[in-house]
């Protein structure tokens, strides 16, 4: 499953690359270590709220915009909370049986 920090990391990385800036530049501006920023971008480290805010400032973007984008991506990947699997309509059951029978 796609984890929140993976999506946030991807979003930050994409923004940085679009700005044609290096990890070194952005980590310096955000006052975080290069290694840490790299791990956050790859979804390997969970960034604190303060750190996220700092990275966004360094990139000149709004954290709210990052979250909006991430929530949109997540909404596609995430199953509905009360997802109840519907039984397959009879027609499909027949088709599946036909496929199985034909195999």
């Amino acid at each position: 499953m796609a984890v929140l920090r993976t999506l946030i990391g991807e979003s930050l990385r994409t923004t940085r690359l679009r700005q044609q800036r290096t990890l070194r530049e952005v980590s310096g501006a955000a006052q975080v270590s290069l290694g840490y920023l790299s791990e956050v971008e790859r979804g390997q480290k969970e960034a604190s709220s303060e750190l996220l805010a700092s990275i966004c400032r360094a990139l000149g973007i709004r954290l709210s915009d990052v979250l909006r984008d991430v929530s949109e991506t997540l909404s596609v990947l995430e199953p509905a909370p009360d997802l109840v699997l519907e039984p397959a309509p009879v027609a499909s059951v027949h088709s599946i049986r036909d496929v199985v029978a034909a195999a």
Copy 2:
């Protein structure tokens, strides 16, 4: 400044209270300690991506919906990245002076 984890915590707490569920119930369902959930709700602890997903599952809500709500609130509170403060229009300066003079 409103920090991300504060807004996420408030959102989760509001949802739980609307469902009229106790910390004990939700922490049990989410398999986190009661104290930890309480700290997350009050914005005192940063929840990991996995923990957030687990709390959302326990509440029967989608993390993407929480993030969308949080991003909307944050967008109001958060200054634009390149915000340049505009000088007040002359008319307003006069009105303020009038108010001050009248006081």
